[in-house]
Amino acid sequence: MDNSILRLPAEQLFEDELNALIKAETDPVPEGWRMSPRSVKTYICGGKVGKTVITPKYIGHERLVEIAIATLVTDRALLLIGEPGTAKSWLSEHLTAAINGNSSRVIQGTAGTTEEQICYSWNYAMLIANGPSEQAMLKSPVFTAMEEGAIARVEEISRCASEVQDTLISLLSEKRISVPELSLEVPAKKGFSIIATANTRDKGVNDMSAALKRRFNIVVLPAPETLEEEMDIVKTRVEQLSGSLDLNAALPKDKVIEKICTIFRELRGGETLDKKQKIKAPAGVLSTAEAISLLCNSMALSGSFGNGDISDDDIAAGLQGAVVKDDKDVVAWKEYLENIMKKRGSEWSGLYRACRELNE
């Protein structure tokens, strides 16, 4: 593996696991896939193949993973919906890595995404010089996925303008792309499908049309159900990330992870975990993904400026940034500090003091 690359795609990061699964394959493999649906599930939910241990990539809700995989087997397109930070993109990346060994056929949906980016565009120099030809055509990831019988990913589909979203309707129902300039019709090969992800809570999203929604099987990814589950996810991801980021700091202790997850869950849910007290919830989403990046941040702080052990000050700085996104959040955060954290006893007092100092 090339260590100088900041973020390796899943199929390279977990190459050994994928190879082990392919080698040990006993079940029938659908056309265009590299392994059987069952192996895909093992790759994502974890398990063991021969001597290779498969690390779980998605924790909790195995059934949802099964539904997602089964959807792709039936040649239906898959739409993953959820709040920010519920591992939608993560799951879609790993699904394509396992099924095709290539998770890089991605279209990133933005307000500026155009129809050409979803179908095809032209190399205009060549177009002008030689006229329309296949060489002058720039194929989109969806186009190549159709040609190769593979899966393309459309990230943040709800950020695209509605008319751009609707381009997908004909692609998904006809399963072919037409290039009128070359009077060409490219039918999709078996194995072609699309995994799209969409956000439910962010601002600046365009609602998907009912027609488009009908072309997808929809899987809603929930926020982790229990504190333990969330801690598990945070721990695994922080371990993986700190390895590839060279953070020079010790991994956070379980207690620290528990504190962070508790704070996040309480602020997210608007009540304490024991359900005895109501809390003003800040406007931010406070996703699991943010908890992960907060901890990595704290590790970086302590690795670069501290003694390598995460201190309360390191966490406090991260927390402040994660929770307080606008002026109103300051009030909510202060109230949380005074009414909840202050009364939690000695174990929390260090963190409380560090947080309060930042708000003096």
């Binding site: 649906p37 069952r38 599930k41 099964e66 539904i67 959807t71 099987n217 809603v220």
Partner: protein, 765 residues
């Protein structure tokens, strides 16, 4: 191998039922032995009648109190039911081999007594699974199974491997193996082990005696829970039968519902989705393995459309494909309930189960009710119940969906016969009797219109519990009327509280049972002579007053009740002031009583108002009684216009004058505010007095008064508070809106500080 054919089943299993039939056709046995209490054999002739429609149940109940019951439910797809029907169609001998129900009842009684200290878990009805292993060990074994199975659920495992079996042989072998494994897995404990051993011993002896009677073992088919197959294989060894405990009991057939079947799944033969299982059964009969999945998804779509949501055939097709793929992921071909439901969630519910949950409940559980032909194996009280239902034209209300029934108790002048003229009144009598018996068939909805003594609204819903309680009531009498009379008599005899007796009187009048009412009135008369606490008196008066108000319309003779009410009324007026010497906790009850007596006095014209106002005035003007109650009495007097504005003003300043402890003053005000708030708010002079009072207090006193006044105003609505603010504004010469705004504005830091300081204030001295 013993030669006897053992067919292991699960008690509610479509595939089991279907393949058992095939197996019977193939083996053509001479005798079929079924695992069911042997004394239930006499119910068979009724079970096979064409008018009997599953789901139904056999209910066995003890003949003495405490009543214990056990239930044996049957659905269309119960293997036992199909076996019974097959035997009847083909004239094959049938035998039941399990312990008699008397023994089950005795055992369950024993268990309940032992667990008496534990929580009372649906005691008497949860023993239906007497059929299968044993209730206590269930969770462990089946949890273990769930962990071991690839689906993570033993339920899905069973459905995938056995309900979707290819043929009879596979089911036969599979179920027997399953039973053997569960048996191995289960750790036994105490009574269950004893019970299982006892039952299997009994079953073995039945097989043995059948063989002794000259039927060759190969020609016997034994239908039993898969769990017991291993235990029964040793039937040949002679053994001595232990004696069983017994509780004298009777049994009867009763209609059952799918809803009930799903909620009491109990042991491993969970049947959380009876309507879905019926679909599997239909599919098997049609020889279409995918019928259940197709029908399930189409039904969901249909129900979604009926409720106004979009659900297209395309979605159904996609859901079907997805469910099949999900099944394949687990190595099956035919989707299980879980696969189908998840597919429906994804494709029809757009990923959210909540969107389809109502349709799912309808499709999986359904509202089917069983039917039993008239006059079959019922207790006489059941017969009476159904006869009355018919007579009173209430039959259409016997359904599992709740329906509302509005009754007009007045005579219908346009009706042709007397019977139909008083139909609603008779219905009311009947429903009240059921209420008295604790049969939860109809619930009286409190009327919003107090004056309409002739109107009643009931919410009627039939549940199997109704039937069970009904059968239990058989001990009280042979007809509904007799049982209700017995219940009322019982209540009167077993209580010393006069208010309970009065309630019984009220009940008796509601039921239109004059004899029982007479009996209760006599008891009441006797009790009324005793020394009765004030609150009890008030409650009793309230009940009696109801009887008198409603008596006319119910064609009841209340002449005996009036003198008792009068007597109680005089007594209440006399003892009221003495009862008002009490602490604040007791004052709540007393206040309640005063309000009740007040409404009785208002409702019954024959009571002397004079006496009541006198008693009220006494309490209101005396200083040595509980101040809250004094306040309340003043409020009632005010309401009844017995106090003038000036008198009130004087009273306010007297009560709130300097020197009277602040909590007493505020307590009085609290009592005053309990009644007729709008009247209070409208009296400007009152607020002036209150304002003057507050001005006189020093800081320390003010803090005390603040707390009590806050309490007095706590349950004023914001509209009422606004009105008060307006009054105060008037007094202070300010604009009402400004005052209201100032009062509703958030606290600034300084006032917050003041209030925070107050939290340390000790109010208890």
């Amino acid at each position: 191998m013993s030669g006897v054919n053992f067919f292991g089943i699960r008690h509610l299993s479509p595939a089991g039922a279907f393949f058992l039939r095939e197996f019977l056709i193939e083996t053509k046995p001479e005798l079929v032995i079924i695992e069911a209490p042997m004394d239930f054999e006499d119910a068979v002739s009724d079970i096979v009648r064409s008018e009997t429609k599953p789901p139904f149940a056999i209910l066995a109940y003890t003949q003495s109190v405490p009543i214990r019951t056990i239930l044996y439910p049957f659905a269309e797809y119960s293997p036992e039911y199909q076996a019974i029907k097959w035997c009847d169609e083909n004239n094959v001998k049938l035998k039941f081999m399990d312990l008699p129900s008397e023994t089950f009842l005795a055992l369950s009684d024993e268990r309940i007594r032992e667990a008496e200290s534990d929580i009372d878990e649906n005691n008497n009805q949860d023993e239906q699974d007497g059929q299968e292993a044993a209730p206590d060990q269930k969770p462990d074994v089946y949890e273990l199974l769930s962990e071991k199975s690839e689906d993570g659920s033993h339920e899905t495992f069973w459905e995938r491997t056995l309900e979707h079996c290819e043929n009879a042989e596979a089911y036969h072998l599979g179920a027997n193996l399953f039973g053997a494994n569960v048996r191995e897995l289960s750790e036994k404990n105490g009574i269950d082990e004893k019970e299982t051993a006892l039952r299997e011993g009994c079953m073995r002896s039945v097989i043995r005696s059948a063989v002794k009677d000259g039927i060759s073992p190969e020609r016997i088919v034994v239908v039993t829970g898969a769990y017991h197959v291993e235990g029964l294989k040793t039937w040949e060894t002679d053994e001595e039968m232990p004696t069983f405990p017994k509780l004298p009991s009777l049994h009867t057939l009763m209609p059952y519902s799918y809803y009930r079947l799903s909620t009491r799944s109990g042991y491993g033969a969970g049947n959380k989705a009876p309507a879905y299982y019926e679909l599997i059964w239909n599919g098997l009969c049609k020889n279409d393995r995918f019928y259940a999945a197709n029908a399930y998804l189409s039904k969901i779509a249909e129900k979604m459309r009926v409720s106004g949501n979009a659900a297209s055939s395309a979605q159904v097709i996609e859901a079907l494909r997805l469910s099949k793929t999900l099944a394949q992921l687990h190595g099956g071909n035919i989707p299980t309930l879980r696969d189908i439901r998840d597919a429906a969630t994804t494709c029809i519910g757009e990923g959210s189960f909540a969107a389809i949950s109502a349709a799912v409940a309808d499709t999986e559980i359904g509202t089917r009710l069983g039917e039993i032909p008239e006059g079959v194996s019922r207790t006489s009280i059941q017969d009476d119940f159904y006869r009355l239902l018919k007579e009173l034209k209430l039959e259409k209300y016997r359904s599992v969906t709740a329906q509302e029934l509005k009754l007009d108790l007045r005579e219908n002048l346009r009706a042709s016969s007397e019977k139909s003229a008083f139909l609603d009144l008779n219905r009311s009598y009947f429903l009240h009797k059921l209420r008295v018996l604790g049969i939860d068939f109809a619930q009286l909805i409190p009327s919003k219109q107090d004056s309409a003594t002739w109107a009643e609204t009931w919410r009627i819903q039939w549940t199997t519990e109704c039937e069970i309680v009904l059968v239990e009531s058989a001990l009280k009498g042979d007809t509904i009327e007799l049982a209700a009379a017995y219940e009322i008599k019982e209540t009167v005899e077993n209580t010393g509280d006069i208010s309970v007796i009065a309630k019984a009187v009220e009940d008796a009048f509601c039921c239109g049972m004059s004899k029982a009412a007479g009996y209760a009135v006599n008891a009441l008369q006797a009790a009324a002579a005793d020394n009765i606490p004030f609150y009890e008196t008030a409650k009793t008066m309230f009940s009696l007053s109801n009887v008198i108000s409603y008596g006319d319309i119910r064609k009841a003779d209340c002449s005996a009740v009036e003198p008792i009410l009068k007597q109680l009324y005089y007594r209440a007026c006399l003892i009221m002031s003495a009862s008002c010497i009490c602490g604040d906790d007791a004052a709540k009850e007393t206040a309640n009583a005063i309000n009740m007596i007040n409404s009785v006095e208002l409702a019954q014209g024959f009571l002397e108002t004079e006496k009541w106002t006198k008693a009220l005035s006494e309490v209101s003007f005396r200083d040595d009684l509980n101040t809250v109650l004094s306040g309340l009495c003043a409020a009632i007097l005010l309401e009844r216009n017995k106090i003038t504005n000036d008198e009130l003003k004087t009273e306010v300043s007297r009560r709130l004058s300097k020197g009277v402890p602040a909590d007493l003053g505020a307590g009085w005000f609290e009592g005053l505010a309990m009644k007729n708030r709008n009247g209070l708010i409208a009296r400007l002079s009152l607020w002036e007095s209150l304002d003057d009072y507050l001005k006189e207090l020093d800081d320390e006193e003010f803090k005390r008064a603040l707390v009590f006044l806050r309490r007095a105003f706590a349950d004023f609505s914001s509209g009422e508070k606004d009105a008060i603010a307006e009054n105060l504004g008037e007094i202070w010469g300010l604009n009402g809106e400004e005052v209201s705004e100032a009062l509703n504005a958030p606290l600034d830091a300084a006032s917050q500080q003041v209030i925070d300081d107050l939290s340390g204030f000790d109010f208890d001295f």
